[in-house]
């Protein structure tokens, strides 16, 4: 088991960032900035400039990919040289009082590998989108949002400040909202967007509370800042020494609050309801945001603040963990429960994307559990592999939907194997990777690492059994889906067709990585673990032959084959009619109904949270109308009466006098006006006459 050991590493890190940062980290901000700028430019483009919009956003993301590959190479070369990388650039955003709010970005193995993943998967999905969105009239808007999303997500990845991370986090949430509601003319899409936004906000409120608390406690929101960052020894000690309620330390409490935010974004158990509905967005959006990247942001966040979550973990003398923390226990249990819960629901869904969505929720649960049990490397490894094969599955599903003329119900497909061979092969690879088919697929190794960590955990045993059951369900529902879609007789309305090259090429690339990525994390050569942990671990093929490991291998293989077999037995080549009840429904209708209805979570929320808000809104409305409205009306009435009184006074007293005076004046004026006959020369004459008189008087009076 590996641990990030702050105490020993701080010195090395300080040296690294003090010795004049090399160029890479200084240009790190370009990685998110370029897609955001591209998005701004696209926003200004006219609707028909589709080609330019696509070129801009793909080009910008490609550039970001190049940059992040460069950064990654830098990190890898440092790592190969035995120096773990942690380079930061921090700057003050603003001051208030004596405190300053700092922002900054960071380059470390975690950020580097995540940035590469986001850029790479994102780029493939962008390319795929060109084909998928070809006939949409809001093509430019789509790419504008996608670019903005990519930029914001990369911002989350490289942020070295919890505040900057939160800002990008909210930007990501906004773009998610925009993209889910991309087809806002569909009421269901608009509702789904709203739901996603509100649900994630619930988590974000806790997250914000955690941030504020952290700032109040440690005085900084920077993660790493030459020893004074909030994740470094000094601040952690301070946080540990401070006790919150219920026996929690401040570190634990803040960790739990942050986890609430992560749970909202990553669809963990109480807040998972938005993610399946989010499938109303276009399929590339589902692939990019709701499978590969954004939902993984929660996991990434937990990985990022792992030192905080694990603060206070008792260690053995050799640095091995000898216990765990409350925060990690909560993370583990929530993750494991989510994994099983979502997998159960996925079994009874009929919408191709909804199955994948629940599968995503379930896999995110795995990642969380992996983080809680095995540390950063375990959770992140599954995150990376999952990003690739889940993106592959979503894109494959998109290809299927595209090929079946926007049909999403798996019962109305079937037999597509023959019509869409490329999609079928890649989809099958993705499906096997997700199921964890032994040895050859990346999913096997990453999931196995989680199971291994769960099995080896000395402190909490329950999650292991939950996760194993989840793995069985995963294999089962994926088999069910593939059988429905690709095997049996064709049940679709129109003639299915293969998707264009621009869509299948990304599928192929993703499929390659869905297989190949396993190589970086096998127990024989746990490169990924070393890379993230910055520590050497024992390696060699002999590790594969250890008894413990073999036992575990056998268990998971059996589980997977059990799931696959069960699925094939129930659904293989049956080609039931679309209206016909499901095979499982026939076998166990009492089990089926609650699963189909998503275990009534939405309904539960409907009668509790939403009902409460509705009632509260009614109360407020009544109060507004009756109480406040009454007061306002009374005041208005009083003033109106006063005005009436005034008017009467004016009319009879003031005006009467004035009118009389005016009449007199006008009569007098009429008499005088006869002099003014309107002839200019008469006036001039009178004037001249007056001058004569005046001068005569003057001279006469001045006579000596």
């Amino acid at each position: 088991m590996l641990m990030l050991l702050q105490e020993e590493q701080t010195v090395a890190f300080q040296c690294m960032s003090d010795c004049g940062s090399p160029g890479v980290v200084q240009f790190l901000w370009l990685i998110p900035a370029i897609p955001i700028v591209a998005s701004g430019v696209i926003a200004l483009l006219k609707q028909p400039r589709r080609r330019l919009a696509a070129t801009l956003s793909i080009g910008s993301l490609g550039f970001s990919l190049l940059l992040s590959l460069f950064a990654f190479a830098h990190v890898v070369s440092n790592w190969a040289g035995g120096v773990p990388t942690r380079e930061t650039i921090n700057f003050t955003w603003f001051h208030f009082g004596n405190s300053a709010v700092d922002l900054g970005w960071i380059l470390d193995p975690l950020a580097a590998i995540m940035a590469v993943m986001v850029c790479f998967v994102g780029l493939l999905i962008f390319i795929y989108s060109v084909g998928y969105m070809e006939h949409d009239e809001n093509f430019t808007r789509f790419f504008c949002f996608m670019s903005l999303f990519a930029g914001a997500m990369l911002g989350v990845v490289i942020a070295n400040s919890l505040l900057l991370l939160f800002m990008c986090w909210e930007l990501v949430g906004l773009t998610s909202y925009l993209l889910i509601g991309f087809w806002y003319q569909k009421p269901s899409a608009a509702a789904a967007a709203k739901k996603a936004f509100l649900t994630t906000r619930v988590g974000d409120v806790f997250f914000l509370l955690g941030i504020v608390w952290l700032f109040a406690q440690s005085g900084t929101l920077l993660f790493y800042n030459h020893g004074s960052g909030s994740l470094e020894t000094f601040a952690l000690q301070a946080l540990l020494s401070h006790h919150a309620a219920w026996g929690l330390t401040a570190a634990g409490a803040i960790g739990l609050l942050i986890f609430a935010g992560a749970a909202g974004k990553s669809g963990q158990l109480p807040l998972h309801v938005w993610l399946p509905d989010a499938m109303e967005g276009p399929t590339p959006v589902s692939a990019l945001i709701h499978a590969a990247t954004m939902v993984a942001a929660g996991v990434y966040l937990i990985a990022r603040v792992y030192p905080l979550m694990s603060a206070g973990m008792p260690l053995t003398a050799s640095g091995e963990p000898a216990g765990t923390t409350t925060a990690l226990i909560v993370v583990t249990w929530v993750g494991a429960a989510t994994a099983v819960f979502a997998a159960l629901i996925a079994v009874a869904q009929n919408d191709i994307k909804r199955i994948l969505a629940y599968s995503t929720v379930s896999q995110l649960g795995y990642m969380m559990a992996g983080l809680g049990l095995g540390g950063v490397a375990v959770g992140m490894f599954h995150l990376i592999t999952h990003a690739f094969f889940k993106a592959l599955l979503f894109l494959g599903a998109g290809s299927v939907i595209h090929g079946c003329h926007e049909e999403q119900d798996v019962r109305r497909m079937g037999g597509l194997r023959a019509f869409m061979p490329a999609t079928f092969i890649t989809y099958a690879i993705g499906m096997l990777a997700l199921c964890g088919f032994p040895i050859f697929f990346s999913g096997f190794w990453s999931k196995d690492a989680i199971l291994e960590a769960a099995h080896n955990s000395a402190f909490i045993k329950g999650p292991y059994y939950l996760l194993v059951f989840g793995a069985l369900l995963t294999a089962f529902y994926m088999t069910r889906q593939v059988c429905y879609v690709f095997f049996g007789q064709g049940r679709s309305n129109g003639h299915a067709h293969e998707s264009p090259r621009v869509m299948t090429a990304p599928l192929a690339i993703l499929a390659f990585f869905a297989i190949a990525l396993g190589a970086i994390g096998t127990p024989a050569r746990p490169w990924f673990r070393e890379f993230l942990g910055g520590q050497a671990t024992s390696s060699g093929f002999h590790l594969l032959l250890e008894a413990d490991f073999l036992k575990l291998l056998a268990t998971s293989t059996v589980i997977v084959f059990l799931g696959l077999g069960l699925g094939w037995w129930l659904y293989g080549n049956k080609s039931p009619k679309a209206e016909e009840p499901d095979a499982l429904e026939k076998a166990a209708p009492a089990l089926w109904a609650p699963l189909r209805d998503r275990l009534y979570v939405d309904e539960f929320y409907g009668v509790t949270v939403i009902a409460f808000y509705y009632w509260w809104a009614c109360v407020a409305d009544w109060f507004d109308r009756r109480v406040w409205g009454g007061i306002v009306a009374a005041v208005a009435w009083i003033f109106k009466m006063f005005a009436q009184l005034n008017r009467l006074l004016d009319l009879h007293w003031v005006d009467g006098t004035f009118d009389k005076a005016c009449e007199e004046l006008s009569t007098g004026g009429g008499i005088v006006s006869r002099v003014q006959n309107g002839r200019a020369q008469t006036y001039l004459r009178i004037l001249a006459f007056a001058v004569i008189a005046l001068v005569a008087i003057l001279i006469w009076s001045a006579r000596p």
Partner: protein, 104 residues
């Protein structure tokens, strides 16, 4: 008739009277304006003459008065003629005998 100023004053008085007579006896509004301009000019001549023969010509009082009077006269002519044109547009005449709608 010993002072050189007297001659100028007589000329100015004559000019003023001629201008006034013109303004009083002519029918045409424009001619009335011209008469008024003549009266103004007569006054200017007086100012300049008094300035020239005043004990302190370097104080420039009369001169300034004349210069400002010229400027004001220009403004007066512009507005007056503008009015005449506007009235002509309405009534198709510049005959003051026919223009008596100015009464209250």
């Amino acid at each position: 008739m010993c002072s050189p100023l007297t001659g100028y004053l007589i000329v100015a008085a004559l000019l003023f009277s001629i201008g006034l007579a013109g303004a009083l006896v002519r029918r045409n509004a424009i001619m009335v304006l011209i008469g008024i301009e003549l009266m103004l000019n007569a006054a200017n001549l007086n100012f300049i003459a008094f300035w020239r023969y005043s004990p302190h010509p370097e104080a420039l009082t009369g001169m300034m008065f004349a210069i400002f009077s010229i400027a004001v006269a220009a403004a007066e002519a512009a507005v007056g003629l503008g009015l005449v044109i506007a009235i002509y547009r309405h009534t198709q005449t510049t005959d003051l005998d026919k223009m008596n709608r100015m009464k209250g």
